[in-house]
Assembly symmetry: none
Homo-oligomer: 152 residues x 2
């Protein structure tokens, strides 16, 4: 347990404390721990994963940042989480997504308007690409939406 990845992980978790999210600077953190900047990416990729309940966003360039957000554990998130890991899978047909969204609307997890936006954005017409990959892209995109719903 004397490895630096674990130490950086603990440091980030401690920094985040009870907050919903934390912004870090990759280079500063690497500087602080005297490690390669890509070490930070390694920590993020192995310790702050969706499975462990985190979402990440980042921006490069001047005043770039990495933002880590927590996925809270609530009943609705519990349900969304099970959708992401079990129900949706690697491929998702439009009709199946529609069914899931109907359910989510009934559960008041998404509004009618939000449902319509998702249906329009991830329709067969919107995803104009070969059938072989269409359902894969939809699965990936839909899961990203569900994950986002868990933090905001």
């Amino acid at each position: 347990m004397a490895n630096i990845s674990d130490i950086i992980e603990k440091f980030i978790i401690q920094t985040m404390g009870a907050e919903e999210s934390v912004d870090i600077s990759r280079n500063q953190l690497a500087e602080y721990f005297s490690c390669a900047p890509s070490q930070i990416n390694y920590v993020l990729d192995t310790r702050f994963t969706v499975d462990k309940g985190y979402l990440k966003e980042s921006r490069r360039g001047g005043s770039g940042f990495i933002k880590i957000s927590k996925i809270k554990t609530s009943d609705s998130n519990e349900y969304l989480s099970s959708l992401v890991s079990d129900s949706v899978g690697d491929e998702l047909a439009f009709r199946r997504m529609e069914q899931i969204l109907d359910k989510l609307e009934t559960e008041k997890i998404v509004s009618a308007n939000e449902k319509n936006i998702i249906l329009a954005g991830l329709s067969d017409d919107s995803l104009s690409m070969p059938f072989t990959i269409k359902d894969k892209v939809r699965a990936k995109a839909f899961k990203n939406i569900l994950l986002k719903l868990m933090v905001v």
Copy 2:
């Protein structure tokens, strides 16, 4: 967020306040913020874009000026329609979509939640496909969403 472009952006927005437009002097502003005059152009080009709802006029030479005006969006359907038929085009980079959504949010055409859903669903990560077609698919999907917003 300690970068000077963001600070200048905030300053201009604050100066404009509730007015329809504001006149600035590029050199004076650069002087005030101790930056290169072309820095002002950079801020204008990246932050006061049509996508974010601004128009610009300027004149060089003696008594030159830069005027920034807010685009009026009295009728939201008309605005959405112009986005679909003119502004968005055949390809749409993620950052541009983000700017358009910022404007739609300030105009209360979409909620913060809806904006986040669209950003998550049509992110680079969601649309995992070659760069050559990614922006095309995004343009198509985003326009379908805008059309839907005109109806519901």
